[in-house]
């Protein structure tokens, strides 16, 4: 029998269900994200995405971030990391039958007003600066986490990758990139290997840098 460790992601879910607002908006996205609509489709993705955006819009970061950015200190604490991965109900909101090329996913994101502006926010607020102590060019973890969570519920919805510590990615890869392989890799690495975003998530999980958790609303 393994030694029982605190599961921060479970604790965040408990705290959410004890708070009326968080509980309400949590079940308001879990319902559409887990309701099968036909034999062919596991859910109505459009409704699931909309309810997810509403969850992150309406629920105070204290609760929503605690679930999305909960820390799972032990690398093999799968009960914790799997729960964190399940936060956005990936089977509906994230995974798809095929993995598109990231650049074509970016193109389809650009055709949607919400997705386009939120992706731009993410690239601007989570920009890496290795020489800065924070790892971020803008030195504001709160804005980076806000921009990242803003992508959830768009075509660019990111999630944690399995078997990888704090590495995130949208549902796409860089196969079939042709001449644009380098550009595609750069785009994908902004998610999977982003020092600023990783530090921001870690700082939130550790409860350090608590001063910035009242980020300004997105422009």
């Amino acid at each position: 029998p393994a030694v029982t460790k605190e599961n921060n992601c479970l604790n965040a879910a408990k705290a959410c269900n004890l708070n009326d607002t968080c509980k309400k908006y949590r079940s308001a996205y879990i319902s559409p994200c887990t309701s099968r609509v036909s034999t062919a489709e596991v859910c109505n993705r459009r409704k699931c995405h909309k309810a997810l955006r509403q969850f992150f819009d309406k629920v105070p970061p204290k609760h929503s971030y605690s679930m999305l950015f909960c820390s799972c200190p032990t690398a093999h604490q799968s009960a914790c990391t799997e729960r964190r991965r399940q936060t956005i109900v990936p089977v509906c909101s994230y995974e798809d039958r095929e993995k598109p090329n990231c650049l074509s996913l970016q193109e389809s994101c650009k055709t949607n007003y919400i997705c386009r502006s939120r992706l731009a926010d993410f690239f601007s607020n989570c920009q890496v600066e290795p020489r800065s102590l924070s790892g971020c060019l803008k030195e504001n973890y709160g804005d980076c986490l806000l921009a990242y969570s803003g992508l959830i519920g768009t075509a660019m919805t990111p999630n944690y990758l399995r078997l990888s510590h704090l590495s995130v990615s949208p549902w796409c890869d860089c196969s079939n990139s042709g001449n644009s392989k380098e550009e595609c890799d750069k785009f994908l690495e902004f998610f999977t290997d982003n020092l600023c975003l990783r530090s921001a998530i870690q700082a939130f999980g550790n409860g350090t840098d608590v001063g910035v958790w009242q980020p300004a609303p997105p422009v």
Binding site: L10, N17, K23, S27, T34, Q86
Partner: protein, 103 residues
């Protein structure tokens, strides 16, 4: 629509529970606030209830025992979702009271 009467005897109460305490067969470590209606409804009894009282007492209804005014939810709380130990989500509807009344 059921007849509702306000009564200060019948009130909304709450208790903090584990989802497993509900006995609905779910395996999870998640928790909830369960709200329920409790208290007497004597103040809001109607002639109908008084007649039923008298008729049962005088054995005019054979073996029948129709229910009297009762403290029940007249509105339910928002749905509750949780993730079980096998990483499956569940959503409970109409599981917890929001507003009580003597009906």
């Amino acid at each position: 629509k059921p007849r509702r009467n306000q009564s200060h005897g019948c009130v909304l109460k709450q208790v903090h529970l584990n989802v497993t305490d509900l006995g609905l067969g779910y395996w999870t470590k998640e928790e909830l606030i369960f709200r329920y209606c409790s208290g007497p409804c004597i103040d809001s009894e109607t002639n109908y209830d008084k007649i039923l009282n008298n008729l049962t007492h005088n054995k005019k209804l054979d073996q029948d025992k129709p229910a009297r005014t009762c403290c029940r939810p007249i509105a339910f709380d928002d749905d509750l979702s949780f993730l079980d130990d096998n990483l499956v989500y569940h959503t409970l509807k109409k599981h917890s009271a929001r507003k009580c009344g003597c009906v």
